[in-house]
Amino acid sequence: MGCKHWKNDWVARLYDELEPDEERRLVAHLEDCAECRATLEGLSSSRELLQEGAPRVPATPRVVVLQSRWSWPSLGAFAAGAACAALVFGLGWFAGPAQNETLELLKNDLFAMTERVRQLEGNRDVTPAAMRKELDNLERRLTRERVQDLEQLVRSFTMAERRTGNWMDQTDNRLVLLALRQDPSLQER
């Protein structure tokens, strides 16, 4: 078994977090145990390597606190909301029941985005540059999180279009056949 039962104390000692009585017990043990001394030294060198190769962190982006104030929705936010509603309705029409969950997620994101636009527009202290940045962030988040969902929806649209197109083709063919039955002379035109 060795001295593994001391491992928590080794780690605590490495970071000077041993209680005084724990420190005394460990020091007394270390005097007689070469294995523990070697292990502690190994942990210490691991720590040095970590400190030497500590990953650099890029400059911290500033987090701006934007205080939202209630205001009548601007024409822009209203138009955005209406467009979102129309888009979601249109998607729902084509997507079908199998995509309802996906659509729900997308709808939530779009409405959250619209709400955020409304809040930003209502705050007169927000500069256009800050607002553009905020919208870019929202758009990136929406794009990243929903790109797969959007792709799935696009596939659904394509399939729905194909189905619709196929049906329309079939309907066309049926109509042509019906017309020819009624009036065979049509074929010559």
Partner: protein
């Protein structure tokens, strides 16, 4: 000028004072971003998680328990968001460490003195950093979280235990295996000897 504690500022936020949130954000944005970036290693994702963390601090300010530490609570929120993000990020793989953007001579006691910049040393340091990142990458997530919180954020074991939600002895155990894991990785890449 009196410096208000984090907990005092949060109480002010609970009472509806937005300026106090601004002070909290300014105080903690750097340490929080450092911690989240070291776990996630994508600047954009780290920025999003930090933003979401502060939003949750604002939304859940009234749920903060009196007597707790703000930093512990904030790190808990951030850690949970990082874990959620890792679960959802099935399309992304953390394979290559991002090249540090901060030039070598911009930090440390010789900061501001371009003549002190040694290109060979800088290249060596970059390779070492990349190797450390790869070593951290290979660790199980629970060991990596503890290592980052202890070694790079300097938190106490007791606080880390509270953040990650396990006993202090478990935290120390993870730290032990994590340190050994990183060292083994560096030995494997030839940066040190056994």
């Amino acid at each position: 000028m009196t410096r208000h504690s984090d907990e005092e500022l949060l109480r002010a936020v609970q009472a509806g004072d937005p300026d106090s949130l601004g002070i909290l954000v300014a105080r903690w944005e750097q340490p929080l971003f450092r911690f989240v970036y070291r776990l996630m290693r994508r600047q954009e994702d780290a920025r999003d998680v930090c933003q979401e963390t502060f939003l949750r601090v604002l939304k859940k300010a009234n749920r903060f328990k009196t007597g707790s530490r703000f930093s512990t609570w904030m790190y808990q929120i951030a850690l949970n968001l990082c874990r959620d993000h890792a679960r959802k990020a099935r399309r992304w793989r953390l394979v290559i460490a991002e090249t540090p953007e901060v030039p070598e001579h911009a930090e440390g006691p010789l900061a501001g003195d371009p003549r002190a910049w040694d290109p060979a040393r800088a290249a060596e340091r970059r390779e070492m950093s990349a190797a450390v990142l790869r070593g951290l990458d290979r660790l199980p997530p629970e060991q990596r979280e503890v290592l980052v919180l202890k070694e790079f954020e300097g938190l106490k074991f007791r606080e880390i235990a509270e953040i990650v939600g396990c006993p202090e002895s478990t935290v120390k155990s993870r730290m032990y295996y994590g340190l050994n894991g990183v060292k083994a990785a560096l030995i494997g890449e030839g940066f040190t000897e056994a």
